[in-house]
Subunit: 348 residues, 4 copies
């Protein structure tokens, strides 16, 4: 019998992951399990309820001895934070209820990233059923919103593409360096970004030795990019965003073209970016062109800067790991901020 | 109005493919369409009936203008040969009926490769429902059975693994060069071998940067290898066969260990193999260790020979393209033989 | 002794490949060997002189029984056409001499694609030593220049990126559909485009699971794209082109943004493109977004068309196989035209 | 000016890496840098002397601010341990000198793994020049030799293939479960195992979509496997080992066949293995067939056990990350033991 008073456990963050069996859920586990200030109280995964984590992810053998359970059996009384890693459309069904019993919710899906339910319906192709939370949710991009995130009850974790794009554009747009219209964004995504599911389109034979663009002009991250950048800069912007699927497991590569509105040197832009992100531990401004392998399995966003004198354009290249800075890592960065911990805790 | 008598079309082979929407079906198309002595009469694919081939395989744009239809609408009166490219268990449902109206049927599935229905049930996990055809079917490995294939009504096209293994072992076993027991066969297969289907296990994210063995001791190709080799050699053999899934799209790599029963040099084994396959246009005995890329998209089987003096073992390595020599190419080689054409017609 | 008069061989094209050991050289072999109207007279490859083709490319076993030789031993008296597949800077050293003894030369390198030696020096970083041929060479893009190619002595085979870009842009630019400035071109290339050479940067470990842009603003294909499009349209154009290296073996994926200068529907643009390429056997205008796997190992260029109404932009996506339509296939298409054969001979 | 006495730094391990620019060197850095009980004193890399680590490995930006230097400028007075990560043949040139000034040396190359200089010469193809150290070096497989490693001055870190093989075989061989002859070992290796170098054979275009066996019967790991297993079991063993190169970056997959010498159930073998490795934190005995992705970037070795009743064989499958348990991770595990730290320090 153990009688020791566990007074010192007051600092423990008691976390629950809902949708824990997907790739983002597994990545949350990978990053949270080594921490001694976080306790995983329960893992909710409807389709895998009753299974051990190691049945789905044998890599966790001898490090994670947890099982998934159904939402119905989960208890939230003493839970400090819930990560919701469900497909868009599913999160909004449970988040309103969760907020009654839990102080802090971080939604990794797309349901609370937009403020307009009509735009949501246009791009997500179904009605929003929790509109009252849209204005309350805080967009969880720490490099932009840390001071709001700290007070948030509901954080909408950014999309993977928007993370790579917004971080690259913020300094240039906020400084007026570039014109806010005519911006062209090309992004290449690894396959894990499409989630863990049985799909012919994502089978190895279809994806390997292949590349294809998709959802040209209609991707649901378009209004997210637009709204966040317009709110951040107070200016209307216009742009095109085209995602491509490429045969890698993890990573997003983004190449952005924008028209320079000022005569600047590459060096001056570097200085501007360095200054802008001086306090951001996860943004690295590179002297060379970034590459995906430098950020895989990290929470870094690497940004490259090139000026094209012939066309007076600024070319920004940025890379992230879609499962880390594009999902689970950023969610944990948000959690750290919400608990007033150093944002890099457990992420470096 | 066209009045020309098409007398000269008597030589045309009128072919139908059932299960035409899978990878083997598409590979049959790729190989048959350029031929001017074969006419594709109809393509049957239940799940894709009504769709154009180019909807599933846009690569065929401007070269294939055909649509899939259902089995119910297909007509077989003037069909000369039917390729059945259905999953095991499906072929046996339709082949008995087909043989009433069609002279020649080539089944690319596993339903008619074994002669014992009880062994079939043990490895394929369901009853055989067309046992009466098991003894009639001819095992369609041309390098072994051409003289029977020419007279066959029903050809059972060999499995991909057995093709790579039997071709490698036949000369050594038939010549008594090696002991018939204790043979170890390791095979590595590309993912297209698992067929075209939505499956989490075959998704890019699961397969890429990964390798795993599977069905150790229980793969359905084990009794096929055993029966064919024993019939061909008149000797009982004993072996282990272990398949592995590797992240490539096409190809099988097989490495075989057998104990030498005679004192021979590598050069003598080479001569034995060269002689054995002198008339086989698709078997190449290599001086170097074979590699998969040399046979991809071809009907070749490359075989490498090494003697290990320390352990008195013969090591055979063999490579094929699982969709060509392991499926569609071999089926067409069989068709050529059944119509008394040179076996390499349209395959080189 | 064979006394038969070979009168009927008058139609044979006697071809030589210089730089035959690289990937483009091997692709020329793959495409030319099956033809019965082309005879490969000799293969020149300095670094591999004396070796059999099958030592470098075992895939050719039993189909190609040729050896490489040095330039010094090659004879050009009865050669009808020479393919020069050397790195840029090497071709110009031998082409002037070749033209003394050979009627038709097709250079797959970059040495004769530009008309200005100063621009050549700026982008290729060395002097041009055969300037007198720059104005004589015909740019070998058949869809643009067939009527000049037919009379050419020296054809400069286009670069792989320019092929995918120019074919996509020609109809829109020539018709005045888009503005000639502010065009943004993003291209993704497979690794075979970098040639066959020992290089840390191109090693599997560096390229796999990675993506990186390179030569932003300085790629040698920039002036080629510019000059060809300006000559073809009579208008000055301005654009940005950014190449990326992606982990696939073959293929180029190009995504182009241009500003519409007219109010048109996607359907009208489709009609325009269909009409423009009605006689082009290798350009396919797609209703869906193209993907690389549809053109791999073919001479096709697939083009996709999307209009973005929000930004009034035309998005063009185009795919080719960099070794076929981007190199060897296009070279053979040019050869066919130069010998007044149907341009698709041996390529479909 | 800082006057604080750094008394508490007595526990710091001052480490140097020689050959630090290769993949194993970089992996050592990745694993050592986060530790607060290890100080990297200097990084030696002849070919990259003067360069910053981040020039070769940009991924280390903002976490590693070190440069490579030449061996000549390196100082070893206050160095506690040196990791030598040089190609075989290079290590033996410097290790004798190093041992004069440094207490502990861990060689990741092959120079001190064998005890016989004649066998070394036979398989490594050059003379051994430091024979006197062969008997002194301790083979650094902690699961076998921890009690010797703790006292060693020179540890020979095992080869990647031998690690995956010996760990799988040790329990079965030591217990007499299997016959010591006729063992067949097939291993598949990722490309990083071949090191960081410019090589046509290892280029993406050659490796991708390809598989090939190599060095059949002549690989330098053969005598290492033989000697270590014979010493550990006191029995002569005979086996065949065949390595294959497969298109993945990291990982080794090993499949071993051995003849059972006793009538046992799979469950009994599992119990034997579980007991054998009860105290080994990095060996996991699996109920399922192992797969590479479960061990990538970890120091784990996963082992699968299957009995084939038909042939009375034991099939062992084992997987490791060749750069971690097969190189840098194991080297650090050895270092931990040499400094009497828990062996998993910094590795879990």
């Amino acid at each position: 019998m153990q009688l020791q008073n566990d007074h010192r456990s007051y600092f423990m963050i008691r976390a629950t992951i809902i949708g824990a069996s997907g790739y983002s859920g597994a990545e949350l586990l990978r990053l949270l399990v080594p921490r001694n200030d976080v306790e995983i109280v329960q893992l909710v995964a409807a389709s895998s309820a009753g299974k051990k984590v190691t049945e789905l992810y044998p890599a966790f053998a001898e490090t994670v001895d947890l099982s998934y359970e159904s939402f119905e059996t989960a208890r939230f009384e003493h839970v400090d934070v819930v990560f919701v890693a469900l497909p868009s459309g599913e999160g909004m069904k449970i988040v309103p209820g969760l907020l009654n019993s839990v102080d802090k919710v971080i939604d990794l899906g797309g349901d609370f990233r937009l403020q307009s339910d009509s735009v949501y319906k246009e791009f997500y192709k179904h009605e929003h059923t929790a509109q009252h939370l849209l204005s309350e949710a805080v967009y969880g991009l720490p490099e932009l919103n840390a001071n709001d995130i700290v007070h948030a009850k509901l954080v909408a974790n950014p999309g993977c593409y928007p993370t790579s794009i917004i971080l690259a554009l913020l300094p240039a747009l906020k400084s007026g360096l570039i014109r806010p219209d005519g911006i062209v964004m090309n992004s290449l995504s690894g396959v894990s970004g499409a989630g863990r599911s049985a799909s012919l389109e994502l089978s190895f034979t279809e994806v390997n030795e292949n590349i294809r663009a998709y959802k040209i002009g209609s991707h649901q991250h378009i209004p997210e990019i637009q709204a966040v950048l317009e709110r951040a800069t107070g200016t209307q912007i216009s742009f095109s965003f085209i995602p491509h699927l490429v045969p890698i497991t993890r990573g997003i590569y983004t190449t952005i073209h924008a028209s320079l509105d000022a005569a600047v040197s590459e060096q001056e832009v570097h200085q501007l970016y360095d200054a802008f992100y001086r306090e951001a531990p996860f943004v690295r401004i590179k002297q060379q062109i970034p590459q995906i392998k430098d950020v895989v399995r990290t929470n870094f966003c690497d940004i490259g800067i090139t000026i094209l004198p012939r066309t007076k354009q600024l070319v920004l290249t940025s890379v992230i790991d879609n499962l880390v800075k594009g999902a689970a890592g950023q969610a944990i960065q948000n959690m750290n901020i919400m608990f007033r911990l150093p944002e890099e805790t457990g992420l470096k």
